[in-house]
């Protein structure tokens, strides 16, 4: 018994995010496939400065993380906060402002990267003035979310909202502090920090962009859409409380594991490794809670490809949050650091967990915002293409990463290095080609999704037209 009729919610702000998110997913994975292909076939750099790998790589990372992931987080937050608080969004105007500012910031970033304008910080490449636009959007988004919760007509704040709230605070902190820079002009700025300190701040940002933007936020997505979609309550309420607070506390510490055996202090490295290992417990808490929520509805997997996306997403989440602590152990990191294993790990999280839970949430929302999806068959095709693409990608990078690590450290019986660096580069070619094919499959999957969305929108429009004709003739 919802106290509010659905007409009272503002769904337009959700709809635009769903459309933009899916479009950005296609663009971002296309960029990714392009740069992956450049590594397999370097001629694709085309001797063109604007398309060369070094300038183009941030195009991929920023589009998939902040454009695709960002719009999923914006749209789903607007959707969930209204529905779980039984109240309309606090300010539709501010929501639109946040949505358009985010788009303006992203477009500026994507236009300036090929020109070589970069802060030189991974996943935080956009120059200082673009940072300000994006930060402004983020603050408006967070404020609107918090004020909507304040206006809620329910007594309790739903668990999914806690995760969004944690993400909003932490992402604000890390984005602002990592972005501290002294501008030289519009196209160039120097980080406020140097050397060791800059490295620490950067990975405090880098890993918490993963930990909060891509994990806490997406756990919020999971905590709403999984129970809603399978029609069962969360498996363990107590587990969600425990793993929420522990994930909020632990993630923050682990950035240092990106700097094992570098020139940062030893105690920081060990602390980063220790906290990373501890992090497996809250991570698996979330994974188990999500999976067990589906328990009892397994029969639906036969007919519901959206639920397939959810279960595979959670399986990948469990897998990559096991792999992460493993790789943060110093002796494992000694092998894995600087290799493609890291890239494989990131993508088992990104393609497996983030993309698949997002895709599930987006398909679920499409049905509730417009009408039942145009073709469930195509959703199923998308599921299989995406899964095969992701698995190809990840296994290629595991194999190449471990091979690289072993080749670099191999000594012969006389105490000489066995391989030159160039030998290891040559050995990567088949894996880079395989990775590019995996990425291409994921891109095709997003193409199918966009097609399915467009057809659904057309059908919804046609039905609306018929309805209004019918009303007029009465």
């Amino acid at each position: 018994m919802s106290a509010v009729s659905h007409q009272e919610y503002d769904y337009d702000i959700v709809k635009i995010c769903v459309i933009l998110g899916i479009a950005m997913g296609l663009v971002g994975t296309f960029f990714g496939t392009f740069i992956a292909s450049q590594l397999a076939w370097p001629a694709l750099n085309l001797d063109n400065p604007y398309l060369s790998f070094g300038r183009f790589r941030p195009m991929h990372t920023n589009t998939v993380i902040f454009a695709f992931g960002g719009y999923l987080l914006y749209g789903s937050a607007f959707y969930i906060v209204q529905r779980t608080c039984h109240v309309r969004i606090w300010s539709s105007k501010l929501a639109w402002a946040a949505i358009w500012l985010w788009l303006i910031g992203l477009v500026c970033a994507l236009l300036t990267f090929p020109l070589g304008m970069t802060q030189g910080k991974e996943y935080h490449e956009a120059e200082w003035w673009i940072d300000i636009i994006l930060a402004l959007s983020w603050v408006l988004y967070s404020l609107n979310f918090i004020m909507t919760i304040k206006n809620r007509r329910t007594s309790h704040i739903y668990v999914a909202l806690w995760f969004y709230l944690g993400m909003m605070f932490m992402v604000s902190y890390i984005f602002v502090f990592n972005g501290m820079a002294l501008p030289v002009d519009m196209s160039f700025s120097y980080s406020a920090y140097a050397g060791v300190h800059d490295a620490m701040v950067q990975w405090w940002w880098g890993h918490n962009a993963v930990g909060f933007f891509l994990t806490a936020g997406f756990l919020g997505v999971m905590y709403y859409f999984v129970p809603k979609h399978v029609g069962r309550p969360i498996f363990s309420y107590r587990l969600s409380v425990i793993h929420f607070w522990s994930i909020m506390y632990l993630y923050v510490w682990v950035g240092a594991h990106h700097l094992q055996y570098t020139a940062i202090p030893d105690w920081t490295q060990s602390l980063g490794a220790g906290m990373s290992i501890a992090l497996i417990f809250p991570s698996w808490g979330g994974m188990i809670n999500g999976m067990m929520t589906m328990s009892g509805s397994w029969h639906k997997l036969r007919t519901d490809p959206i639920m397939r996306f959810m279960i595979v997403a959670l399986a990948f989440y469990g897998m990559s949050t096991f792999e992460g602590p493993l790789m943060s152990i110093k002796s494992v990191n000694a092998l894995s650091h600087y290799t493609d294993w890291t890239v494989g790990h990131v993508h088992s999280g990104a393609l497996g967990w983030n993309a698949m839970i997002s895709v599930a949430a987006l398909y679920h929302m499409i049905t509730h915002l417009w009408r039942p999806i145009y073709s469930m068959k195509l959703v199923n095709v998308h599921f299989w293409i995406h899964t095969v693409g992701a698995v190809l990608y990840i296994t290629a990078m595991w194999a190449s990463g471990v091979l690289q690590g072993l080749m670099w450290r191999a000594f012969d019986d006389y105490g000489n290095l066995v391989y030159t660096f160039a030998d290891s580069v040559a050995a990567m070619h088949p894996f880079y080609a395989m990775r590019a094919i995996g990425g291409a499959l994921v891109t095709v999957g997003f193409g199918i999704m966009l097609y399915n969305l467009i057809k659904t929108l057309q059908a919804a429009k046609a039905e609306e037209g018929q309805q209004s004709v019918a009303t007029a003739s009465v």
Binding site: Q38, L39, A40, N45, D47, F53, R55, R57, P58, G116, G120, E122, I146, S155, I157, W162, L165, G166, F169, M170, Y173, L182, P183, F188, S189, Y190, S191, A194, G195, V196, H197, D198, A199, M200, Q202, V241, M248, Y249, L250, V254, Y261, A263, I264, P265, T268, L271, G272, A334, H337, Y338, T342, Q404, R409, A410, F411, F421, A422, V425, A426, M428
Partner: protein, 278 residues
């Protein structure tokens, strides 16, 4: 009711019903880890032990660094050698924290699609670098690096050099007024675009044992320490102009040989602590 008395329970229900409480707890909790890990290294002396020889970049090297960042070199090349036997064999002595103390931003990187560059300086000739940057496969057939064909034809944009040095001085890099005022002469002198007229002045400014940082503190290396000589020449073999190639090669050739490592010295324990007087 009496059951409740002995039950260890956190009143989570209150938190879930009170937005202010929830938001405050979350906002405080997520701040802890970062503060504990990031702030102390600024105050602990052994987090970035000082070492003799590390100097700020010359104007030409500074422009080279900007190109390194602009072209995204750091995405495929690390500049952080780890203390392992294979890395020592392949790249040289492990990197010290102090070696990147003037790098706003740090360029340690996170991935080695290509090899580490922390000590690539003087390992190859200028001609090798120029050839390699224009067409990597012509010297390393296995390479997957893009051809940087435009570096040699692009004349270096020096409109920001002075502003860059001033910005870095604001951030604490010990450039003196003379270093900044003479940026153009120094830049041309290092690329040998001035018929050798400014070379002595350039060397006097950057091959020295005393630096005054922004706090006015004098950093004085031991008198016997001989700073590594600057590389002064037409890096792209063409002294008629200063190109992006000149700047990038000058930067690369400066990598990693400012600190003089002595055989048999353990730089973690023996050397740190008293390398120079303040």
């Amino acid at each position: 009711m009496s059951d409740h008395k002995f039950k260890l329970s956190i009143p989570h229900d209150n938190i879930e019903r009170n937005l202010g409480l929830l938001a405050t707890f979350v906002a405080l909790l997520v701040a802890v880890g970062g503060i504990v890990e990031i702030v102390p290294p600024y105050y602990l002396d052994d987090a970035e032990p000082a070492v003799e020889g590390v100097r700020p970049y010359t104007p030409l090297e500074l422009e080279g660094y900007a190109i390194y960042r602009k072209e995204g070199c750091y995405l495929c090349h690390s500049q952080m050698i780890r203390p392992f036997r294979d890395e020592k064999e392949r790249y040289g002595h492990f990197s010290l924290a102090a070696e990147s103390r003037y790098d706003h931003n740090y360029v340690w990187g996170s991935k080695r699609t290509g090899p580490d560059l922390a000590r690539v300086g003087t390992k190859y000739t200028d001609a090798w670098h120029v050839q390699h940057l224009i067409q990597p496969t012509s010297v390393v057939p296995e390479s997957v690096m893009p051809n940087y064909v435009w570096l040699e034809t692009n004349v270096l944009d020096t409109s920001k050099t002075r502003a860059r040095m001033e910005a870095l001085r604001t951030l604490g890099v010990p450039y003196e007024q003379g270093d900044i005022d003479n940026w153009e002469a120094d830049l041309k002198a290092q690329a040998a675009a001035d018929d050798g007229a400014g070379e002595d002045d350039l060397r006097a400014r950057y091959e020295r044992n005393t630096w005054v940082n922004k706090n006015g503190d004098v950093e004085q290396w031991t008198d016997s320490f001989k700073p590594t000589p600057l590389n002064v020449r037409a890096f792209d073999a063409d002294a008629s102009d200063v190109t992006e190639m000149d700047a990038l090669v000058a930067y690369l050739q400066s990598r990693g040989n400012m600190v003089h490592f002595e055989e048999g010295v353990d730089y973690y324990h023996d050397k740190f602590g008293q390398p120079y007087r303040k």
